[in-house]
């Protein structure tokens, strides 16, 4: 048997230590492969993308929502809802063009934001042109799962009366989407101490924290069914709540305009809501 040849004057060759074998290299490969498998599983565990209708159908829903007849929808009044508005005392919030600003902070996963957006889109459309609105649903794993809604994430807005700023903090899987500016974050912390969303600020005169109605009335409906109810059956359970909430918020906008538009602010039903708001209802 051939024995190992050793250099003269040296001691016996020590056994190879554990780190000298294939373990470190194999370990790195195993860790990387395991991590990739884990990432795939995490990705699959998240909600699938929202099942949205075709682009044409989306455009139709958005056109229906933003083109509602003001007189007919304002006739719903409060829609049986108490005022969701809280009066606040802060320096007026104006946008870059010097007009009163409506600030919305929410997130696409949030079912209460889902409810609020329907109403807010109607409010904004009464004072200007809202574009770039998409359709989505709230999270599949939160309360009121998969509530159909709009998203403001890629929206633009123009109006001769007000300005609009929106922040959708996450998508429906809670992945980060948009971040508030430092000033928006400061306002949120000042006026919404629990940092609840949706937070909607009407020029720092009134705010809503949460949605003005429960999202359960939207459950099981498609976007088009909601749009149809708003157009054709404003007394329906979903439409009356969406419109009641929208009418209260419209009153908050009207109250801070020096020359409010008659179309949105001058009708008898809106005048009653504005009076109620002014008296602290």
């Amino acid at each position: 048997m051939r024995s190992g040849r050793r250099p003269t004057g040296r001691g016996p060759v020590p056994p190879a230590p554990w780190w000298a074998g294939p373990l470190p290299v194999v370990g790195v490969v195993v860790v990387v492969v395991a991590a990739i498998v884990a990432f795939v599983l995490v990705g699959r565990s998240q909600s699938p993308p929202a099942p949205t209708p075709s682009p044409t159908a989306q455009s139709q829903v958005v056109a229906d929502i933003t083109g509602l007849d003001v007189q007919r929808t304002e006739a719903i009044g409060a829609g049986g809802l108490k005022s969701p508005l809280q009066k606040v005392s802060a320096s007026p919030l104006v946008g870059p063009r010097g007009k009163p600003q409506v600030l919305y902070i929410g997130a696409e996963f949030c079912p209460f934001c889902a409810a609020q957006r329907w109403s807010l889109a109607i409010v904004l459309s009464r004072f200007g042109t809202l574009s770039g609105v998409g359709l989505t649903t709230s999270s599949s794993s939160d309360v009121f799962p998969d509530t159909p809604t709009l998203t403001f994430a890629r929206s633009t807005y123009s109006s001769p009366y007000i300005e609009f700023a929106e922040v959708e903090e996450t998508d429906r899987n809670r992945n980060p989407l948009q971040s508030p500016t430092a000033e928006q974050q400061r306002l949120l912390e000042q006026l919404d101490s629990r940092l609840s969303i949706p937070f909607t600020d009407f020029g720092n005169r009134w705010v809503t924290i949460g949605s003005g109605y429960q999202p359960d009335v939207l459950q099981g409906m498609t976007w088009q069914q909601i749009a149809d109810q708003l157009q054709n059956n404003p007394q329906g359970p979903a439409a009356s709540r969406i419109l009641g909430n929208a009418n209260w918020m419209t009153a908050a906008v009207c109250q801070q305009l020096a020359n409010p538009p008659d179309n949105a602010c001058g009708g008898p039903d809106m005048t009653r809501l504005r009076a109620a708001l002014a008296s602290g209802a």
Binding site: P7, R10, V13, P14, A20, P24, I36, F39
Partner: protein, 160 residues
């Protein structure tokens, strides 16, 4: 020209050069707003990945490929140094392996973003990720060999 004492590290150097080229391409296309040579609209969608909010260093507008350039440049320096070093070769190899291990941690985060968050793969990014992995494995194996040589005083190569 002196012979490399660790020729395997030249492979790390070559990988670093390839990584530099890829990172430079991604950086240039970012600043020139040029389209990437990569499919889009499917699972492989480089534009969606690189233009996402994860495509820049957090809190900045600097594309993530810029730190990649720095990573591969320093790895190249360490690989060349390690291949030729007579003194402190073990220390250089340890530094190279640690640098590549740090790079692999960042790679794992980026792969997580691609697979779990964006559900899209950027093939240029994946190429650089594979290069980092290759560099770490080579650096690690050379570090093992150098450490074993020092431990046995060179005996390991004569056991027969």
């Amino acid at each position: 020209m002196p012979r490399a004492r660790e020729p395997a590290l030249l492979l790390v150097g070559l990988a670093a050069v390839a990584g530099l080229g890829t990172s430079a391409y991604l950086t240039l296309t970012h600043y020139q707003a040029a389209p990437l040579a990569c499919p889009s609209g499917g699972v492989v969608d480089c534009a969606l990945v690189t233009q996402s909010r994860y495509g820049v260093v957090p809190g900045t507008a600097v594309p993530i490929s810029v730190p990649g350039l720095v990573f591969f440049a320093l790895a190249l320096v360490l690989a060349v140094w390690g291949a030729r070093a007579r003194e402190r070769q073990l220390a250089v190899l340890a530094l190279l392996a640690a640098w590549c291990a740090g790079g692999l941690l960042v790679v794992l985060y980026l792969v997580y973003v691609e697979i779990a968050l964006l559900r899209r793969i950027c093939e240029w990014c994946t190429a650089t990720h594979a290069l980092v992995m290759l560099m770490l494995l080579v650096a690690l194996s050379r570090l093992q060999a150098a450490a074993l040589r020092r431990r046995t005083g060179g005996a390991s190569s004569t056991i027969g």
